[in-house]
Each structure stands twice: as structure tokens, then as C-alpha cells.
Symmetry: none
Subunit: 487 residues, 2 copies
């Protein structure tokens, strides 16, 4: 927390006090949002209804701030089995249109990854539970908490009847965890409409790389998600009656997946490193300046040993080199116990995190050719089908843009420190989409601590991060306004 | 059907005529038994009560034959949720104890697999329905029909007041589809009691490999079921935030599973074939004599191509060579959709079908050493644990034992043909348990045709198989008695 002596003068002081005094209300609202199982990943009608309900709740909240909210119909999602599900509407909201103020647009999402208590959650994932200042629950840090922190900041100005230093826009979607279906099309359509007056776009959908030190993010990796299906027939077999005479699809699939990456993490697809940007001297210095205690990082990650020992190697392999992960297999036996099945049709899933200047369609071709070669060598009678299910470009920003300066100053005000200048190894496609489509600058301004566990069991956001993050956004408004007056 | 000219003289002639004349009664009794939903797989009180009722019906029927029936209490089944259900009593019944006659013990079971009409049954699974000579219903072929065929054979002798050529014993259980709980313990206890006077044990719980040609079964494969766990930590990781710096458990596991079997189905665990019995010339001739249309078999299996082209190679790889199947992975992403998870802890599952004279503990050591070697070469920081979760011995009978000779002669009498001498590629632990525990010879004498669909929808037994099977058992009694007089 900041000490009284560093309190900024004027309206911000009152805003900070308001946020501190109303923090329990803010936590309560987060609890209400977490209670909605807005899982966009599992394509089932019940969850899709919950997701639509979540978008409705958020729209109501934005209207409560006085914003004009457009709930834009986003059409339908086609499932592979021929069914369709509605895509939740995308919210476009605006508050203020003073031409003398800069316009800051916040992007966030309301959908979450799947979570079930039996997967290893210590509390019900959809009941926000506070333990030692940690707010556990699915979506607390990814991304419901940060969306609400931005709303909290705005609501503090409104409640105090203070003039908002900036015009505010919101772009809120419900399909981020499923590839942001329909978003790009909308952004393209609204380039000269909703986005024309925007000065910069803020995304807060990542984490710091520390538990206490804030960070700014200037790049993210892309992702090519592949499925490789091997099919003998649609029905499964019994291993007693067919074991020994079949090209078993699982044996083929395991060989295919085993050909992708070696034990040192190096991707074995020929040519894959051909377009990776070389490391510059300046870049090396940015990595050297980052505050990371490798030993503490390793311990907090609960990992016995990483593939690399130095800070620079670790961070570069997370942020600026590609990586390949095998996620799982659909169609095989996955439950506890011992079932003697020969799966008839299995689908392996893996993805490659992409970095500048890898080209997605080149990667797609390289992967397909490689797997076809490996499969052909097996001389199997099964059918193999490789698909790139999802392709998302990497993103990199110019860190001398205004919003980076404003964010640095706001961080200094609230946290009393310089931020780590980092990238994110994950893929937040919206950054690249928004930047390319709107031609506006994008900044990633994360609130969550490194140990928040987004996408995994026991996801949480610290109460401190959530509340100080709300203040950070308020301070950011003011710094943007100050910089704007000197434009 | 047999023609009049091949009718055997004496009592058997009358028995066969009796069976033909009373076949509708026999079908009616099967209908009454099928009407009892004696499902032992779904552990719910209603079904367990039905199962107990079924055992009671069978005990009454055996008493009606004049048998002394002991209904042996088998205790309780512990369910994983802490509940208990009664295990149905095991029936030990005997009819006749003439020391001049051989004693033949029939093993059968009264429980069935689950069945619901909406799973794809064309008729109510618990209402026996005859269509074109096929008797559809759950349990018709597995195993109520064969149990009743044995009872029909005995009842024909009794009704005609003919002297039974053999002493008869029955071992009838109600938990076969759920691992034959409590059976092994009882058999062990009764080795010197109930089983001491037994000359051979008959099991009729499999199928022919043809629609019309009878078979005798002289072997079944065993099974060693393995789990191999690779663990980095209990929680999963996000591939964006950790992809590139971890020894990912899935990469390790895929490499381990990929080291087990090659594309031609050959198991790669060193030494695994060391104890597989060599193929003898006599054995080759047994395989050559088997009636199997490979093309029809392949088509009905809906498989594009098998690993082998000839009948002999196919059957040997199903019955007398080991096979390894990879069943699946627990802990990885297995659902539809695209989840970018790095599973933190994954458990691969595979099993090896064992054949004579493979030794389960040797196989366990070979598999563990192999996987430890493969894992050590990867230099991974993860933890690997290999366990043999389940081990079931293979079984093989001596086909020159009396009961095989008697069965062949009985088949010749009833069907006018030599039987296919076959094995079963699956694991039927009861044969091995009975043989090892009682030290008595076991024979598998199936009645059902290859297309009976045991365990699946629209299970049936042909009226012809049921009625001629009753005759077959009667003829078997007589052949056993004849052989006995020459012992």
C-alpha cells in the first residue's frame, strides 16, 4: 500500500480514499461475477446460457455507471458436430465524449476457462472465497477482476462527482478463451466508428512476473493450435478381441506427438526456427534489467528444475522463442481405473507459441508436412487428418508510445516503483487484432501477481492487487490527461 | 439339425427327442430368466435385489431337478462412495454321487451387463423376443442360455427317468460381470470339499468364431495392466506462461508410450518375447484347420486392413502372441475444443495381453526397467512412477485331456462335424483360477454363435444353438461316462 506522505494531491487523493473505503463492495461485486459459470470453452448449451447471463450483468453494470452501452449481436458458433451455439453479444460502451480529453478504451473479457472442484480446487471455483487476502475463484484474475478494477476506478470518480479526466470506452467480449469469435469482424467494422476517437487501448489480461512488483507488457506470443486425428473406425475395440492385429490409432498418435519436440524443449518440425527474429544487443539489455529471482520463481512455480538456468535464457524462452506443448488426447480412455479399450478414433492436441516474425501459414505447412512424413513412414492403414484449429499472431508494441509513459508514471504514483518491462509468453490475440485493425496504440497493463494461477486450479487475485489496481487505473486516467494537454 | 440316420442308439436318442419336443418349454424358461434384470455392474439397490431374486430362481430350478443346493453367503461389496451392497450368494449344487461315474462340474453366471432399450436395442432387452429363430434379450447368450442348456440336458434325463451317466455339480455365481467378487475365496475353501470329487469343470461363457460351426476353447490370454505417471507438479500449467522452459510431463509420457510398440504391432520391451511358447508343427495344423473367412471377418469388423493377411497369422496374433494396447491418458486435456494447458501430472495406461508361458512378475520387471531406461535417457526433471495395476494370468488347457475328447465326440454326434479348436484373446480369469485352485481340468465349451453380441445391444442366442446346445451337453455326459469306464 502507499503511505500517506506519497498521496497525490487533488481529486486523485479522494478517489484513492474512496476506493479504500469501498473495497468490500468491490469484492462483493467480483464475488457475484465469479458465481456465474461463464465457461466459453466447453460448447454446451447450459454454459452458453450462463455466459450470456454474464454479459447481461456486465451491461447492466456499465449502464449503472452512466455509460451508453451497445450490445452487439455476434451470431452463432458452428460446432464440429453440426450444432450451433449463440456467440455472446459484444459490448461497446462509452462514457464522455469531451473533445478536449483523450479517449481511453479498455478491452476485457467475461468468459473463463473450465473449472471443476474435483480437478484439484480447494474451494468451489464458482464461489469467491477469501483466504489470507487471496480471493480464490475461476475468473478472479482472468479476467473478471481487472474488468471490475477499471469499472471501480470509473465508479469512484462518478460517486465523488469528480470530472473524469478522460473519455472512457469499453470493448467487452465473452469468447476470449475460445478464440475471440466474431470480435475481429466487429472491430474491423467499427474502425471508423467506435474506434475513430480512441487514443489508446488498454488490455489488462496478463500477470506481473513478480508477486509485488508491477509490470508493463509490450509483446505477446502468438499461437497455432493443431489437432491431429487418427482413425481406424468410429467405434472403439476391445483389446482382448482385437489386440495384436490392428494398427492401433493410439500407437500412431503417440508416435506422431512424440516426433514434435525433444527432451530439451527444441521443436523438431523442420524449418520452424527459420523466421524467428535474431536477438539484438538492446534487447539483451532489457532482459538484463528485469527483476527476476530465478530461484524464487522456480520455487513459487513448484517446479524442481527448469530447462534453463539463467534469468535471460528463461525469459527469452518464455517470450521471444517459440515453444510446443502437447495438451492431451480426445477419444481415448481418460478416466481413473483400468479399461481395456482400443480407442477407434483419437485426436491429439498440441500448439506452438509463435514469436516475431514467424508466419502462421508457413508454420501450418511445416507442421502438416512433418506429420505427414512421420505418418507415411509408419505405413499405417489408419486415416490421419491434421488441422490448424486456431491461429493467432504474435504482437509487439512500441514502448515509447504515450500510454507507456502514462502507465509508468501511474505505477510510480500508486506503487512507488518502476515497472518491469516485460513480454507475455501467452497469446492475447486481441492486442495484435486491435493494433492492426484500428491502427491505435495498445498497452498491456496487468494487475495480477505472478502466482495467480490463471487457467489452472485455485486461480486467485490478491485483494491488494485488485484494490491497488483499481487505483492504478484511476491514476492512469490522470496521467493520460496530463500528457494529452502537452500533445 | 442332425438327420435320423445319424441318431445314436439307446438313451441318448430318447433324450434328443425329448429336448426337441420340449423346446418351447425351454425357451419359456429362458424368457422367465431374461425377464429378471440381474445387472451386477450398476451398483444400485434395485438391481441388486433383482440379482438376488435371479439367484433364488436358479436355486429353485436346481432343487426341482433333485439337486442338493447350498446357497453360500458371499458377504458385501464395498462401493467407492462408502456404501455397501450384498454380493449374491454363490450356488454349489450336486446331483448324484455314484463313485462309479465321473463327476462333471458346470460353472456359469446369472448376472448380466447393463442394457437399456434407448442404447440401440430393437426390442426390450428384458423381454425375450424371437425373430427368425433368434432369441433376443440381455443374458440370452451371456450366460443364462448356456446355464439353462445344461439344466435342460439334466432335466431331460430326469424326465425320462433315464440314469444320468455322470454325477453333476453346479458352481453358479452372480458377480461375473463385476470381477467375480468372493468367488476365488470360496473355490479355495472348497478345494478339498465340493471340488475334491470333480473330474472336470465345464465353462460355457464364450462364443464360437463362426455362425454355424461349433468350437472348443483351450486357452485365453492374460493381461498385465500398467499405469505410468509423469509428474512435474500437481497443478496444471498454462502453455503461454510456462511453455518453453519446462520438461513437460506430456512430452515425457508420449516418449515413454511411444517406446512400447512399433508400427507393426511388435512390443519393444526388451526380453518380452523370451517366454512366449514357440509354435509347434501340431499347433500350426490346428490353426490351419480353423474355419475363418478373413475377408468377411475384416468387413464385419469395419477395419480397412489388419496387420496380417492370413488366417493363421491373424489368429495367432489374437490368441498365442502377446499384444500391447495403449488405452489412454488420465490428467491431460481430453474434451472437445482447444485448451492451452500443460498438464502438470499425467498417467498413461497400457496393457499387455499375456500368453503361455509369460510370467507376470517377469513382465512387470521388464516393463519397469524399459520405461526407467527410456526416461533416464531424457534427463527429465519430472518424476516417473510405473505400476502394474492389474495382473491376470493366461490360461491354457491340455487338449488331450478326457473332457476335450468327450466334447469333440459329442459335437460330432450332435453337429456332425469336428469343432474349431480355438482360443480366446481376452482374459477370462475364472478358467485359470478354477484350474490353479482346484487342480482340476477345465474345458470351455461354448454354445453361442460369433454374432451373438454378448455385452452389446441386441444380444441374442439362436434357438438352434440353445436347443442343440442342450443336446450337446447331454451327449457330453455320455461321452464322459464312456471314457471314464476305460480310465
Amino acid at each position: 500500500m502507499f503511505s500517506a506522505s506519497t498521496l497525490p494531491p487533488g481529486p486523485l487523493e479522494k478517489v484513492f480514499q474512496y476506493i479504500d473505503l469501498h473495497q468490500d463492495e468491490f469484492v462483493q461485486t467480483l464475488k457475484e461475477w465469479v458465481a456465474v459459470e461463464s465457461d466459453s470453452v466447453q460448447p454446451v448449451p447450459r454454459l452458453r446460457r450462463e455466459l450470456l447471463r454474464m454479459v447481461g450483468l456486465a451491461a447492466d453494470r456499465l449502464r449503472g455507471l452512466g455509460a451508453r452501452v451497445a450490445s452487439v449481436d455476434a451470431g452463432f458458433q458452428q460446432l464440429s458436430d453440426g450444432q450451433t451455439l449463440p456467440i455472446p453479444p459484444i459490448l461497446l460502451a462509452e462514457l464522455g465524449s469531451d473533445p478536449k480529453k483523450p479517449t481511453v478504451c479498455f478491452y476485457g473479457h467475461l468468459d473463463v476457462q473450465p473449472a471443476r472442484q474435483e480437478d484439484g480446487w480447494l474451494t468451489d471455483p464458482y464461489t469467491l472465497t477469501e483466504v489470507d487476502g487471496k480471493l480464490y475463484g475461476r475468473g478472479t484474475t482472468d479476467n473478471k477482476g481487472p474488468v471490475l478494477a477499471w469499472i471501480n476506478a470509473v465508479s469512484a470518480f462518478k460517486a465523488l462527482d469528480e470530472d473524469l479526466p478522460v473519455n472512457i470506452k469499453f470493448l467487452i467480449e465473452g469468447m476470449e478463451e475460445s478464440g475471440s469469435l466474431a470480435l475481429e469482424e466487429l472491430v474491423r467494422k467499427e474502425k471508423s466508428g467506435f474506434f475513430s476517437s480512441v487514443d489508446c487501448i488498454v488490455i489488462s489480461d496478463n500477470l506481473w512476473i513478480s508477486r509485488r512488483k508491477p509490470a508493463l507488457i509490450y509483446g505477446t506470443r502468438g499461437n497455432s493450435y493443431f489437432t491431429v486425428e487418427v482413425k481406424c473406425r468410429d467405434q472403439d475395440f476391445h483389446s482382448g478381441t482385437f489386440g495384436g492385429i490392428l494398427n492401433e490409432p493410439m500407437a500412431d498418435l503417440v508416435a506422431l506427438l512424440g516426433s514434435l519436440v525433444d527432451a530439451s524443449g527444441r521443436i523438431l518440425v523442420p524449418g520452424i526456427y527459420g523466421h524467428v527474429a535474431p536477438v539484438t544487443e538492446e534487447e539483451k539489455r532489457v532482459y538484463e534489467a528485469i527483476d527476476l529471482d530465478v530461484e524464487e520463481y522456480r520455487n513459487s512455480s513448484q517446479v524442481k528444475k527448469f530447462l534453463f538456468d539463467t534469468k535471460e535464457e528463461l525469459l527469452m524462452h518464455l517470450w521471444r522463442y517459440p515453444s510446443l506443448s502437447i495438451h492431451g488426447i480426445e477419444g481415448a480412455f481418460h478416466e481413473p481405473g483400468a479399461k481395456t479399450v482400443i480407442p477407434g478414433r483419437v485426436i491429439g492436441k498440441f500448439s506452438i507459441r509463435l514469436v516475431p516474425h514467424m508466419d502462421m501459414s508457413v508454420v501450418e505447412t511445416q507442421v502438416k508436412q512433418h506429420l505427414e512424413y512421420i505418418f507415411s513412414k509408419r505405413n499405417s492403414s489408419n486415416q490421419m487428418t491434421v488441422s490448424m484449429a486456431l491461429g493467432l499472431h504474435p504482437w509487439i508494441a512500441n514502448i515509447s508510445d504515450h500510454q507507456y509513459l502514462a502507465a509508468k508514471r501511474a505505477i510510480k504514483t500508486v506503487f512507488g516503483t518502476e515497472p518491469d518491462m516485460i513480454r507475455d509468453g501467452s497469446t492475447i490475440p486481441i492486442a495484435k487484432i486491435l493494433q492492426d485493425t484500428t491502427q491505435k496504440s495498445v498497452i498491456m497493463l496487468p494487475l495480477g501477481a505472478v502466482d495467480d494461477g490463471e487457467h489452472s486450479q485455485n486461480e486467485k487475485i490478491n485483494r491488494w492487487n485488485y484494490i491497488e489496481g483499481s487505483k492504478l487505473f484511476a491514476a492512469f486516467f490522470l496521467e493520460m490527461a496530463k500528457l494529452h494537454s502537452s500533445w
